[in-house]
Symmetry: C2
Subunit: 133 residues, 2 copies
């Protein structure tokens, strides 16, 4: 039951890791940054947009900076803050990772389920997200 999803996530992650050398977390952060205006986003903002803690994002961004996929820029109007800024290398990596990821998702879902079923699953997931106290 729950393990199906654990397996799914693990497999998608392994696939990305193998093909592109980045984890699902890295992929998610890169995507969030790339999609943001000016291709940059605050660290704390990334933390609330993901399931990672602030310190987790901090370290993850540092790793991505070390790989030259992101850069850090001081925030002008809030000198405590930092932007994570996508680099050209980051965009390139994201682009090819996106291909791998989408192929994986497509293979697992689009070929196995009908459009109607996918709509249903999506609805279930959305309802699951509502907190229940």
């Amino acid at each position: 039951m729950l393990s199906a999803h654990a397996r799914l996530v693990r497999d998608l992650d392994a696939e990305l890791q193998q093909a592109e050398g980045i984890t699902l977390s890295s992929y998610e952060v890169l995507m969030l940054v790339a999609e943001a205006p000016d291709g940059r986003r605050r660290i704390s903002d990334l933390s609330s947009a993901t399931l990672l803690s602030l310190s987790g994002v901090s370290r993850l961004v540092d790793r991505l900076v070390r790989e030259d996929l992101l850069a850090k820029e001081r925030c002008d109007d809030d000198r405590r803050g930092w932007f994570a800024q996508i680099t050209p290398a980051g965009r390139a990596r994201l682009e090819s990772a996106r291909g791998v990821h989408r192929a994986g998702v497509r293979r697992r879902f689009l070929t196995a389920f009908s459009a109607e079923e996918l709509r249903q699953m999506d609805g279930f997931w959305t309802r699951l997200e509502q907190p229940t106290g």
Copy 2:
């Protein structure tokens, strides 16, 4: 989409951790051991029954032994092997953890979805489990 499940697992895990001091992995292993004949199961067997590597299970079992929830027994007919054996304390902990876990699952699923929807979800999960190459 995927994050709904990540959040779900994380929350269930946190709930168990908070209430019973054991993780979802520990819970799963305790359950597998408790359900097995004679309340014991081989380490490698646990590894194939879960998503954990053999080394992961080895360490996890060691932790549970340290907490007196499991015991290790040499295997008679295969002297490389070990059984993880559930202890009375292990059964007790499992019993109360089961309550917490089931309440969590019930709250998130049974109250939010109809029986028919639960049947559908179960079908989706089962189909997701089929490897797709």
